[in-house]
């Protein structure tokens, strides 16, 4: 660089000296030097003009071929430009790859702003939801996807699970939409086609329901004949034992099928349970009487009614859930033990608990209790009969009422099964005075 500038200075000095030399030859050396300086200035201006023109029309013309300082500046600009171009191209390439990969995603992706306005969407999202580009950018998503369930989901706060809707364009599909909030108020809406899963699920449910239904008829015939055989006095006494066993097993099968049907009915009815008023205290008193009438039962079956509140729900579902819990308590408590039912309500809602002093459940089994056919101790529970579906029924019935099941247990000391119902399901019957009753 220094050499270049020294050369430039030397050249200027040379030109001025040349001008002065001509002046010494022809007279007026100062004027000659000034003329040389003007010439030099003109040449520089011409170079400046060429560089400026090139910078303006860079894309259409080659860099000017000039030497010296100007040439060096042109070279530097070219280099700088080339480097910038390279970076830009790399960025564009990365961006394109990113766009292409999100566009190729099998799921729909839609980016929403704070006001739920559509910022960007990929091809699959447009295809599934019938969005149009570029018309729909900036529109609110709930203006286009108007399904009431989705609007409710969008304005709610629970985004842990997706909401399943029928899309507006292809109504035979089922779409699962899930909102994933990120950054400040922005969110990602994921759209997945779940038609196939739902159809498989439906087929499974139908199969269970149909199979149980078909099993029922032959079983009725078998138990009918077994009943007749049991009363037939002409049969050899040696057959009395086997016939009794067969009858007991037939009854058990009947119970399992009844539970399977109940469970598939609970599963196949969509949405929330109906809201019929149920007088829970009366129901519990009746359940207690039935329990006391059993031949094999713990010594004490108690009922604590701390509330006169009832529930809004489907009566037979609630009764089947409560009965299942009570029967479990009775089954796993020995003759000297106690089973206590408790019904109370507070500002959170209504609660029903069955507290037994039975054998208890090891802690590792508690999370899996509500699975179908899950057995803590296979040998023992089979000898007690029971279908292995009771707690699954309880779970489903509670879910349909917006409630949930809580299980506490100490091995060897007893268990507490508590049903919690939300406040919206509480029915306060003002006609009945609120008084705690403890019925032994």
């Amino acid at each position: 660089m220094v050499a270049m500038w020294t050369f430039a200075l030397a050249r200027l000095a040379g030109i001025l000296a040349l001008g002065a030399a001509f002046g010494l030859l022809f007279g007026e050396p100062w004027l000659w030097a000034l003329a040389a300086a003007f010439l030099y200035l003109g040449w520089q201006l011409l170079n400046l003009y060429r560089v400026d023109r090139w910078l303006r029309l860079r894309s259409r013309m080659a860099p000017p071929n000039i030497g010296g300082v100007w040439g060096d500046i042109v070279g530097q600009v070219v280099r700088l430009h080339r480097r910038k171009q390279f970076h830009k191209q790399r960025l564009v390439q990365i961006f394109r790859e990113l766009r292409r990969s999100t566009a190729a995603l099998p799921d729909g992706v839609i980016i929403l702003s704070r006001q739920h306005e559509i910022v960007w969407f990929n091809r699959q999202g447009a295809h599934l939801l019938g969005l149009k580009r570029p018309m729909d950018i900036g529109l609110r998503i709930d203006n286009l996807i108007r399904t009431p369930e989705f609007i409710q989901y969008l304005h709610g706060e629970d985004f842990a699970h997706p909401v399943v809707i029928r899309p507006p364009v292809q109504t035979e599909l089922h779409l699962a939409l899930q909102l994933v909030p990120y950054g400040v108020g922005q969110s990602l809406l994921l759209v997945r086609d779940v038609t196939r899963q739902l159809r498989l699920e439906g087929m499974r449910k139908d199969f269970v329901a149909n199979a149980s239904h078909e099993l029922r008829t032959p079983l009725t015939v078998i138990s009918g004949y077994l009943d007749t055989l049991a009363e037939d006095t002409t049969i050899d006494a040696a057959w009395a034992g086997p016939i009794r066993d067969m009858r007991a097993q037939a009854q058990r099968m009947n119970a399992i099928i009844a539970d399977l049907l109940e469970l598939s009915r609970l599963e196949s009815t969509d949405g929330e349970a109906v809201r019929d008023p149920i007088a829970v205290p009366l129901m519990l008193e009746r359940m207690q009487r039935d329990a006391l009438a059993r031949s094999e039962r713990p010594r004490q079956v108690l009922l604590d009614l701390d509330s006169n509140a009832g529930l809004f729900g489907a009566a037979h579902e609630i009764e089947s859930a409560f009965t299942n819990l009570l029967v479990n308590g009775l089954k796993y408590t020995n003759a000297e033990g106690t089973v206590r039912m408790r019904w109370w309500s507070n500002e959170e809602g209504a609660h029903f608990a069955v507290i037994d002093s039975g054998i208890g459940i090891p802690a590792e089994h508690i999370p899996r209790l509500t699975e179908r056919f899950y057995r803590v101790d296979p040998g023992r529970s089979r000898s007690h009969g029971g279908s292995g579906l009771g707690l699954a029924i309880v779970k489903h019935a509670l879910q349909r009422h917006g409630g949930w099941l809580d299980v506490q247990s100490v091995e060897g000391k007893g268990s507490t099964f508590t049903c919690h119902f939300p406040f919206q399901r509480l029915w306060v019957d003002s006609a009945r005075p609120l008084a705690a009753r403890h019925i032994a």
Binding site: K132, L144, P148
Partner: protein, 244 residues
């Protein structure tokens, strides 16, 4: 499309009010669409409970209409909107009336469907009615989409579909008459079906009305009682003007 640009306003509150009431209309539209879908499903699948639920839920549509109507009166009284904003409000007031009527027709279909569910079902399982229902539901959907997007071209296209719905309606009507003549025992069912297709045809008309309000809202042209071909020419001219 000056009306689509609701964001440049002196008063931000006014914008928010307009946006809010527009959202409410579309929300109401979404509910009405769902009611219509449910009513058609109830008929085709013979689900009497679903049909009844449609009939009992209609009060919600009425409630929405009243509240949007009040909101519009409030905006008119307080903000005294002019030009494009005034057209938006006027179009909204008219649109919700038609939506409410669509809700009423849906209620009717749901009610008749629940009654038909107890009767013997025809061999074709109401295929023609289902097809007409699909077509009409799509029309309502497209009309509301055009409303959301302020898309006058889509609105015009949807309005033109009403002709097809009318033709289909007449075809089913003739078919029903043939059934009744062939076998007088089907008269009762055929009459009920007539009520349903009549309701669907009316829904098509209401959807067409909504499309006309969209065109009015966007271009400020009242196109009721003019032929759609003329309207198409006018809209093309307006777009050409906007492009220049």
């Amino acid at each position: 499309m000056e009306t689509a640009d609701l964001s440049h306003h002196i008063s931000r509150r006014f914008n928010e009010d307009l946006e809010k009431v527009r959202n409410q209309v579309l929300q109401m539209g979404g509910f009405v669409e769902q009611q219509l879908h449910k009513a058609i499903t109830a008929l085709v699948e013979g689900d009497s409970r679903l049909g009844e639920s449609v009939a009992t839920d209609d009060y919600k549509v009425n409630g929405m209409e009243v509240s949007i109507d009040e909101e519009c009166s409030r905006i008119l009284a307080i903000r005294a909107p002019a030009a494009g904003d005034l057209r938006v409000i006027v179009a909204i007031i008219k649109t919700i009336t038609d939506l409410e009527r669509i809700g009423d027709e849906g209620e009717k279909i749901g009610y008749i469907a629940s009654r038909l569910a107890t009767m013997e079902r025809p061999a074709d399982k109401y295929r023609e009615v289902k097809h007409l229902g699909r077509q009409v539901a799509q029309m309502v959907h497209d009309a509301l989409d055009a409303f959301a997007r302020m898309d006058s071209l889509a609105a015009l296209k949807t309005a033109q579909e009403d002709k097809m719905v009318d033709e289909e309606y007449e075809a089913i009507q003739r078919q029903c008459m043939t059934f009744m003549m062939e076998d007088p025992r089907t008269i009762r069912r055929a009459l009920e079906i007539m009520w349903i297709v009549r309701a669907l045809e009316r829904i098509g008309d209401h959807a067409k009305n909504i499309c006309e309000y969209v065109i009015y809202m966007v271009h400020g042209k009242d196109i009721r009682h003019t032929s759609l071909e003329d309207v198409a020419k006018q809209i093309d001219a307006a777009h050409a003007l906007a492009r220049r």
